[in-house]
């Protein structure tokens, strides 16, 4: 076949895997997922496989099957100094955090990773999640406003220091040029932020923002996680979402899935595709997505089983077709995704 543009490949590295019974099949004690060693292994495997981006799903409360979970921003930060090419995207929720802290954390992740930070916009809106901050669940309209407001203020804060704000001018004794550090004076529906950020501008200028299409913020996101690979006309990149259970034959894969489902049912997430089958079959399915989407985020059912299979059998097959190009060390995530580095909105035209 003629080579379409390479697919950008992302993988979610949450916990033992995307399947709620993943912990039963992980081949290690269930508590191991809460330590550094498991995270180190997962991140190293994803980077060695050539993924462009690792995401870290999260929620304010433990997953429903009571498995524990480390906070995603902390996981991504831990990964930043032991990797040099893979993008790192924690899911941070706009509803249960301080927008100022959220923007600072992501900017700091971008500095620590030298330009590889991204943000999966989380919008937990159920009563139990909001109760963790002593608040009531927002209605649909309020949630919509909140998501927009938090993205907008984060973007304003990332621009609040111009790139060249630190001048270190010996003659005048000025470390900073105050004319290049700006208040943001943001007024949202439920909060205001004065600014500027306490952290200098992120190396990428703007941290890469990924948002599900269902949040209806396509115009604010760099990457939209689409419900259906509809080839729709969007300004940013589109990624499809694919859950995977892999085995050497289709029958064995079906057996694996059935065994996992006995432990706990794996409910369908609307808009996510699911591949239960062989690596070759998955490669074929991904080929058919190329051209309809810019990238795919994979959700391995069990990380310790499916991530090695992706690395060994799926990504190399796509690479040999010219449909996958692993990132090179030292680049920024924007470089890898082909996204330009935006100038700060305050940059004075010269």
């Amino acid at each position: 076949m003629t080579a379409a543009r390479p697919l950008l490949l992302a993988v979610d590295l949450d916990g033992d895997g995307a399947h709620p019974a993943a912990w039963r099949d992980a081949g290690r004690p269930p508590g191991a997922v809460l330590g550094a060693a498991a995270l180190r292994r997962a991140v190293a495997a994803a980077e060695a496989a050539g993924f462009a981006l690792a995401t870290f799903a999260d929620a304010p409360l433990p997953p429903p099957d009571a498995a524990g979970r480390l906070e995603a921003g902390t996981r991504a930060a831990f990964a930043s100094t032991i990797t040099d090419r893979i993008g790192l995207a924690p899911e941070l929720h706009v509803t249960t955090t301080e927008p100022f802290h959220l923007a600072t954390q992501l900017a700091s992740l971008d500095h620590a990773s030298k330009g590889r930070a991204a943000w999966v916009v989380g919008a937990a809106a159920d009563a139990a999640s909001l109760a963790t901050i002593g608040a009531a669940a927002p209605d649909a309209a309020a949630l919509r406003r909140e998501v927009r407001d938090v993205i907008d203020v984060a973007r304003a804060l990332w621009d609040s220091w111009e790139d060249d704000a630190v001048i270190k001018e010996s003659a005048t004794g000025r470390y900073l040029d105050a004319g290049r550090v700006h208040h943001v004076d943001f007024e949202g529906a439920s909060f205001t932020v004065k600014g500027p950020l306490i952290t200098p501008r992120p190396p990428q200028g703007q941290v890469v923002v990924l948002a599900a299409a269902s949040l209806d913020v396509d115009d604010r996101a760099d990457v939209v996680l689409v419900d259906e690979p509809d080839g729709g006309d969007r300004a940013g990149l589109t990624f499809a979402e694919v859950e995977v259970v892999l085995a050497a034959s289709a029958a064995e894969a079906a057996d694996r899935a059935a065994r996992l489902d006995e432990g706990a049912p794996w409910p369908r997430t609307p808009g996510r595709l699911r591949h239960v089958g062989t690596p070759a079959g998955l490669a074929e399915a991904l080929r058919s997505l190329a051209g309809r989407v810019d990238g795919v985020r994979l959700h391995p059912a069990v990380l310790t089983a499916d991530l090695p299979a992706l690395a060994r059998d799926v990504l190399p097959a796509l690479a040999s077709d010219g449909l996958h190009r692993p990132p090179a060390p030292g680049g920024t995530l924007r470089d890898v995704l082909g996204l330009p580095r935006p100038a700060s909105r305050h940059t004075t035209a010269t």
């Binding site: 912990w23 270190k168 010996s170």
Partner: protein, 456 residues
């Protein structure tokens, strides 16, 4: 000679515990070829590894939730810009093995369950090396960056801090030790009923949350407390494992230790359940005279003519850029307003009495013929830095710890990384020679480094 009363008996075997407090902003020296880039991750990684080589207990990061200002604009003369502490320390956790990682985090402008969760995650990922330096903020100027704004009146911030810390401790202790199943064949991931939901419902702390992680190998993050007010001391006596005290001069350190240990007793805690680590700066030289000369140079760098003008602008409340820093104080009258907190959190003694202080300065500078920069250097002279040869400083520290006035120091480096390299390479060996400092890490957790009893 009788030993001063510190509330604990003289201990001839006491050792010095060392941490480094990296404020990250302020009058650090940046205009020098040895100054490392202040926000680069490699600078932080280098410092953390240096401290591990020096067998330090802990690396602290400061916090300030608003960029400092002078007359409504970002303050230009100081180092500014720093990372989120927990994010940065998680990045450092991956490339270090022993050093304690302590994040300064605010109880006024955080949500308790959210902050407790991030700290617990750092604690697990570092395998028991996390600490939390608990601070409060009392000004709406900082609050302007947050949902809650300036909602908390001054008197209630330690009330909230106490409730906040109690909620965090409850969340950290909410998983029973054997809650998690040992194998994938178990009926469920966690034993039913082994994880408690935590609920608080007061006007200061409201939450209902289930912790997403169990305890780390050190139980929970080590708690540091830095406030010196009565409210701060009570919070320390009730909950802290370590105080990051401002009482560095020997007599003040003795009085502080005695006061704190009396408070501990009232809270039913043993005198050994709390470590006292005052902030300290160290300037070393081959001779006393050389060290003193270096200390003078550092202070002159930190109070440059431009910074002297800015210092007085903060007091005058007006633009003084037309005045000569090498000339006398401005003849014009200062504004009537007290100092605002925009240059950073103010010490309580600076909140009032501005006009009287200025009058005193006028009198002194006329009497002694001082220029603005001379006066600024005099009135900002740092209290009690340890200046001398490595051997002299080691001897003084020995007296501090063996009388139990302190358990060690939190160093405040002026020049990164040079100030710390000389401590590691020159002072640490002198301490070791005197039996005042470990020669290898014995434990792996921060709690073990600090020789603290198990946390509750």
């Amino acid at each position: 000679m009788s030993s001063p009363d510190t509330g604990a008996p003289y201990d001839p075997h006491a050792e010095v515990h060392l941490g480094v407090f990296q404020v990250g902003v302020g009058s650090l020296i940046w205009d020098h070829p040895d100054a490392a880039p202040h926000t680069a991750i490699d600078t932080f990684t280098g410092v953390a590894r240096l401290l591990e080589r020096g067998l330090f207990d802990a690396f602290f990061l400061g916090e300030g939730l608003r960029v400092r200002e002078n007359r409504g604009r970002a303050y230009e003369l100081d180092v500014a810009g720093r990372p989120d502490a927990i994010t940065q320390l998680a990045a450092l956790a991956a490339v270090t093995e022993r050093i304690g990682l302590v994040a300064t985090q605010n109880t006024t402008y955080n949500f308790p369950a959210d902050l407790a969760r991030r700290l617990a995650s750092l604690d697990l990922l570092s395998d028991g090396r996390a600490g939390w330096n608990i601070v409060t903020t009392d000004n709406a100027w900082t609050g302007a960056n947050f949902r809650h704004g300036g909602w908390l009146e001054h008197e209630r911030r330690y009330e909230r801090a106490t409730e906040f810390v109690e909620a965090a401790k409850a969340l950290w202790g909410s998983w029973e030790p054997d809650a998690v199943a040992e194998s994938g064949d178990a009926k469920s991931w966690a034993r039913p009923g082994s994880i408690r939901e935590i609920e608080r419902d007061t006007d200061l702390v409201r939450l209902r949350a289930t912790a997403t992680v169990p305890a780390s190998r050190q139980g929970r993050p080590v708690l540091f407390q830095a406030g010196d007010s009565a409210g701060g001391r009570e919070l320390a006596a009730a909950h802290a494992d370590v105080v990051f005290s401002a009482n560095t001069a020997f007599d003040k350190a003795v009085a502080y230790a005695a006061d704190l240990r009396a408070r501990l007793a009232r809270h039913g805690r043993s005198p050994d359940s709390l470590r006292i680590l005052p902030g300290a700066s160290v300037v070393l030289g081959d001779t006393r005279a050389e060290a003193e000369e270096k200390a003078r140079w550092i202070h002159h760098q930190q109070v440059s003519p431009a910074r002297a003008i800015a210092f007085f602008e903060q007091y005058w409340g007006t633009d003084l850029s037309a005045y000569d820093p090498h000339g006398p104080l401005p003849g014009i009258d200062p504004s009537e307003d007290e100092l605002d907190p925009s240059r950073g959190t103010l010490m309580p003694e600076l909140r009032t009495g501005k006009l009287a202080r200025i009058a005193g300065w006028r009198e002194r500078s006329e009497r002694e013929g001082l220029s603005m920069v001379d006066l600024a250097r005099l009135v900002t002279t740092r209290h009690d830095p340890f200046v001398g040869t490595p051997g002299e400083v080691a001897d003084r520290w020995g007296e501090y710890v063996r009388t139990r006035a302190v358990d060690g120091f939190n160093l405040l480096p002026d020049l990164l990384p040079a100030s710390l390299e000389e401590v590691v390479d020159r002072l640490v060996p002198e301490l070791q020679e005197r039996g005042l400092y470990r020669t290898a890490y014995e434990g792996t957790t921060l709690r073990e480094h600090l020789a603290l009893p198990p946390g509750a």
